[in-house]
């Protein structure tokens, strides 16, 4: 009789040798004898977590094995994996990526990095609420390509896991966290690497499928309410077949409104720093946030331990590992109070490079190297956003969401002061070269005649229909034109301001200096204030005949060739006048009968004066033919 000379052989041999191309199940120790230290690697805890997760069944009705109940020495379990993952998504634990070749990790870190060079950039999981060694946040786990997360073997003595279970399972946001993970799973699926049932599927994929199953459906908030942390290396199975592969992916942390808050950051000027970073500066020149653009230099961080730096931190190249080395990561506090920037900085300004030049394009190149591709396009990012940091994917997502306006604009303080989190400030305005008289009134207009890369923007209102922010700059400009029409306002002798002479000479609109730069047209505070109250609206409604002549006057303005800047400026004024009329007539006076404007009236045929924005760009100032007699 023939015997296979191998433990756990399941088939009687018929030849003198036989192939053993797959690991035999019988070799796996029983649950009671699982022994982490028997794995021949310092990464034994990660291997054990992979082993334990690998025991899970994808059969929805299956009772999942719980070896930890039979083997109390076991520190790795699906239950702890579940808790740690949910804790990460809920922000209860944080993910910190360290370079194992940093001097602080010394020869232990160097040994680990030598052993698994691909794991040199190593994710540590720390509890945000518990203190550990020397007051640092308690280290409770780490990341691994196969199992995603594994548990610190000594955390149990702190009674940590039962306490974490209480926190996670009692969390009101737990269901939302699961949905966010379902979003993340769906994103992986779209990239073609989600195959939990594949024979080569990594244990983490299997475990996530067991955790979510078909019960949890995506909520579609990955692009709006999630902050990405990491990245981490993950083993995946390419759908096209072949051997298992690894990818670099970011993990989601639930943070409602994060994408909108991030969008606000693009209103701060990016400035490159020597330390391999780009700072985003608020209008006062304070750094709001830092984007890391180059890996940290361990030798510079050795501080008072240069000898250790020399030993522990070799100069191993980080080329190809930029994302893992922290390139693209946001650093610094994002919640510090600061003013909102008046210009969107995605594109270059006249004298300063923008976010695309300083941050986005270099990060796309770094991402290409990290993902081993020739190049990464914005379409690639949109197709697989979880492979890219927030500093890339949220910018591209945001550009996509912009309205149809086509000219980048500089905002006034009246706009930025009204920006509320969750309602991104406008970045572009409608060009008067493209707007034709008689078509719907634009809500944001790019003032013609600008010489820089940004046009002055005038904003009537912005934001989605459910959260519209009313600014009123266009109707306030229209009010100013109305006041001039009625003779209550005048152009100052120097031509720089239009003054409300009938009301203590208040400034209505004109030129202002913003950070030493002239803004050739700004609607000023008193004019804005006037259109946020009912007084001027009711006063105008009391002069319907005049209002009819005002409308008749502007109805003929703005015709002409689109590319002529004087035509564009006239259109701007017409938009403002019509927006004002729309406002005046839009809401009836309380208790008053509804009225409409007639289409007749004597119009002013030529402007009395013109406000020069720049060059030929001039706002005509019409005076009512009866203004002096009334």
């Amino acid at each position: 009789m023939l015997h296979s000379l191998i433990p756990g052989a399941d088939v009687a041999p018929s030849t003198d040798t036989f192939a053993i191309d797959q690991k035999k199940g019988a070799w796996t120790p029983p649950h009671t004898h699982l022994r982490t230290r028997s794995f021949p690697t310092p990464f034994a805890q990660a291997e054990m977590m992979s082993h334990v997760l690998g025991l899970l069944s994808l059969d929805p009705g299956a009772r999942q094995p719980e070896p930890e109940t039979l083997n109390p020495r076991l520190q790795q379990s699906f239950e702890r994996w579940r808790l740690m993952l949910l804790a990460l998504v809920l922000g209860e634990v944080t993910l910190e990526t360290i370079d194992l070749r940093r001097p602080e990790v010394d020869n232990f870190g160097a040994m680990l990095a030598d052993l698994r060079p691909e794991c040199r950039f190593f994710g540590l999981i720390r509890d945000a609420r518990r203190s550990g060694l020397e007051g640092r946040k308690l280290l409770v786990g780490a990341t691994d390509p196969l199992c995603l997360l594994w548990c610190a073997p000594r955390a149990a003595r702190e009674n940590y896991w039962s306490e974490l279970k209480t926190r996670i399972d009692a969390s009101a946001d737990r269901a939302e966290a699961l949905k966010l993970l379902a979003d993340w799973r769906a994103a992986l699926d779209r990239t073609g690497v989600w195959q939990p049932g594949h024979e080569l599927a990594p244990p983490w994929m299997k475990a996530l499928e067991v955790l979510l199953g078909d019960r949890v459906q995506p909520s579609g908030v990955l692009h709006t309410d999630a902050r990405f942390v990491g990245p981490v290396r993950l083993r995946v199975v390419p759908r096209a077949g072949g051997d298992a592969d690894e990818t670099i992916a970011y993990l989601p942390v639930r943070e409602p409104g994060w994408a909108a808050r991030f969008a606000e950051l693009l209103f701060f000027q990016p400035v490159r720093r020597d330390a391999g970073t780009v700072d985003l500066l608020d209008p006062n020149g304070r750094s709001v946030l830092t984007v890391r653009m180059a890996p940290r230099d361990p030798t510079q961080e050795a501080g008072n331990a240069p000898a250790r730096a020399a030993q522990g931190a070799d100069r191993a190249s980080t080329a190809g590992f930029e994302l893992l080395a922290g390139v693209g990561r946001l650093e610094g506090a994002t919640n510090t109070a600061r003013g909102h920037g008046q210009a969107h900085w995605l594109e270059d300004h006249a004298n300063a490079p923008g976010y695309r030049s300083l941050v986005l394009n270099p990060l796309l190149s770094a991402a290409a190297r990290s993902h081993k591709r020739m190049q990464v396009s914005e379409a690639d990012v949109q197709a697989a956003p979880i492979l890219y940091p927030d500093t890339v994917r949220l910018v591209i997502g945001q550009a996509e969401a912009a309205d149809g306006a086509d000219v980048r604009i500089h905002l006034s303080r009246e706009v930025t002061n009204r920006v509320a989190t969750g309602t991104p400030a406008p970045q572009t305005g409608v060009s008067m070269a493209k707007w034709t008289p008689g078509s719907p009134l634009p809500r944001i207009v790019a003032v013609p005649g600008s010489t820089g890369t940004l046009s002055v923007g005038l904003v009537e209102r912005f934001g989605p229909a459910t959260r519209t922010v009313d600014v009123g700059e266009l109707r306030a400009l229209g009010l100013s034109l109305w006041l001039y029409f009625t003779g209550e306002a005048e152009l100052r002798a120097d031509g720089a301001r239009v003054l409300w002479t009938a009301d203590e000479g208040k400034d209505l609109f004109g030129r202002v200096l913003v950070q030493s730069a002239e803004r050739p047209l700004e609607v000023l505070r008193d004019a804005i204030a006037a259109v946020h109250g009912d007084t001027e609206r009711l006063r105008a409604r009391d002069r319907l005949a005049t209002l009819q002549r005002f409308r008749a006057t502007w109805r003929t303005v703005g015709e002409g060739e689109n590319d002529r800047v004087e035509v564009q400026a006239a259109r701007l004024a017409r938009v403002a006048a019509d927006t004002f009329i729309e406002w005046v007539m839009g809401a009836p006076s309380p208790g008053a009968a509804a009225v409409t404007l007639g289409s007749f009236g004597l119009r002013a045929t030529a402007p009395a004066e013109q406000y020069v924005i720049a060059g030929a760009a001039k706002i005509p100032l019409f005076l009512d033919v009866f203004a002096r007699s009334e």
Binding site: M1, L5, P29, T41, N107, G109
Partner: protein, 476 residues
């Protein structure tokens, strides 16, 4: 030259089997060994280093390189043998301390200031079946200690890594070692692996840190790791261990006490990989790595002796089976013993045709060395006896492994006849002198083969020549 890298206790057992096979010409020369283990003073290690106390300057170790056992890390020069203190000293930054405790629990990694068990594993006392500790120590201190190995690997035609997935040291370093060797020699050089799974049992003793269940855990997790990370680095590999319901011939044997050699069939089967794996592997199709197992036929308990291991050259044998080599070894021992029945017959050349054969040759050599023929013959007899001791160390082990098996079907005609005479107790001392004289005809052919000895004495050279000539006669 082929290089055998023997790792840990299992590796030493396989190295011993290979050495025995080489002594019997059961494997083809040249093979060099690099033996790695933390303990170079155990009984097993001594047996490997000295080939069972048979190695003398005139009778070298049959497996070159096996006289030295290299520790995987510089234990003797380590300031600390406590695993924790190898990494965590007083200057350790908090992050390094945190990292160490992230990777190792209290039992393996100890605690700060811990003494005894609370200090964690003391590697000076062994790895205690703790491959995760062994792998870290090896990874942190392999620099230097393994440099000679990498030098050998670069010049080797083929490389065989042998060991077991049980225990702490070998199981802990095997995978890293294969990775490092592969990185050293590049993808084109054939590297094969031969690994023992469970092949012995530990006696059930209360209170010990390592028991059979521990070994099985190391085996299971080691195999999991092997299939995930290591297998693809090898051109081919072989796994061999005790089946679930073994027939008596292939049962697990009790482990020898005091770290001595555990006599078992399994190290021999692992050594078979040196023949089998290259034979089965298409080195032009590297991606097609395969792992093999062996089959035991309990109707033929000596099937391993029936396999063709090596076809000896000069003198040639018509029988390449391992059994033939054992038969020759047994016969040679009997011949050498017969020379000792009455020393003077050999030393005074008091046997038929002595003066015209070996007596004349020995006399000429003695004259060149300014000594008497008798004195030289006496030295030759001692050298033959030493060679016989090595043969005995080899054939005794085969006898233990296969029991009192009848080998009369093996060997070339003359060897078979003499083996039968010995087996049937009809052997007489003159038989030995008769074949000695017959062997003289091969003195200038097989006997003139280049010596394998380094700085040999005339006596050792003559003994080597006689043995070669005798083998030629036995195979003729």
């Amino acid at each position: 030259m082929d290089l055998v890298i023997a790792v840990g206790g299992g590796g030493q057992h396989i190295a011993l089997a290979i050495a025995r096979l080489l002594r019997l010409e059961g494997l083809a020369d040249p093979i060099e060994a690099f033996v790695i283990d933390a303990d170079s003073d155990s009984r097993l290690a001594q047996k490997v280093r000295t080939f069972g106390n048979t190695v003398t300057p005139q009778c070298p170790h049959p497996l070159a390189g096996a006289q030295t056992i290299v520790p995987p890390f510089a234990r003797d020069t380590m300031h600390e043998t406590q695993f924790r203190k190898i990494f965590i000293d007083d200057r350790a930054a908090p992050l390094e301390r945190e990292m160490f405790e992230l990777f190792y629990d209290e039992e393996s990694g100890g605690v700060d200031g811990g003494i005894g068990p609370s200090g964690g594993v003391d590697i000076g006392k062994g790895m205690f079946a703790n491959p995760s500790v062994g792998s870290a120590v090896f990874a942190s201190s392999k620099e230097g200690a393994m440099d000679p190995l990498f030098g050998l690997a670069r010049t080797a035609a083929r490389i065989f890594v042998v060991g077991s997935f049980l225990g702490g040291t070998g199981a802990g370093i095997m995978h890293q070692l294969i990775k490092l060797v592969r990185e050293t020699v590049g993808p084109a050089r054939p590297i094969y692996g031969s690994f023992l799974l469970r092949w012995f049992d530990l006696p059930p003793t209360a209170g010990q840190t390592v028991d059979t269940a521990t070994l099985l855990a190391s085996m299971g997790h080691g195999l999991e790791y092997f299939y995930r990370y290591t297998k693809h680095l090898l051109d081919a590999s072989m796994l061999v261990g005790v089946p679930d319901n073994p027939p008596p011939q292939v049962k697990a044997v009790p482990a020898a006490s005091d770290n001595d050699e555990t006599v078992s069939l399994y190290p021999l089967l692992a050594a078979w990989s040196l023949v089998m794996l290259p034979d089965k592997t298409d080195t032009q199709a590297r991606a097609a790595h395969r792992t093999y197992g062996l089959t035991h036929d309990d109707n033929d308990p000596i099937w391993a002796l029936r396999r063709s291991w090596n076809s000896p050259r000069n003198p040639n044998s018509q029988d390449a089976r391992l059994g033939a080599r054992i038969v020759e070894a047994v016969v040679l021992q009997e011949i050498y013993s017969s020379f000792r029945v009455k020393d003077s017959d050999f030393t005074e050349f008091d046997y038929e045709k002595a003066r015209t054969t070996w007596g004349s040759l020995i006399g000429n050599v003695a004259k060149k060395n300014n000594t008497s023929a008798t004195a030289l013959a006496r030295g030759v007899l001692s050298a033959l006896e030493a060679r016989g001791a090595q043969l005995r160390f080899a054939s005794w082990w085969f006898g233990q492994v296969f029991g009192d098996a009848d080998l009369s079907q093996f060997g070339d005609t003359r060897a078979r006849q003499l083996y039968a005479a010995r087996k049937h107790r009809t052997w007489k001392a003159p038989d030995a002198f008769k074949i000695l004289v017959d062997a003289f005809q091969f003195e200038s052919t097989a006997g003139a083969e280049r010596s394998k000895l380094h700085d040999p004495t005339p006596e050792a050279l003559m003994a080597e020549k006689i043995e070669r000539s005798l083998l030629a006669a036995l195979r003729g």
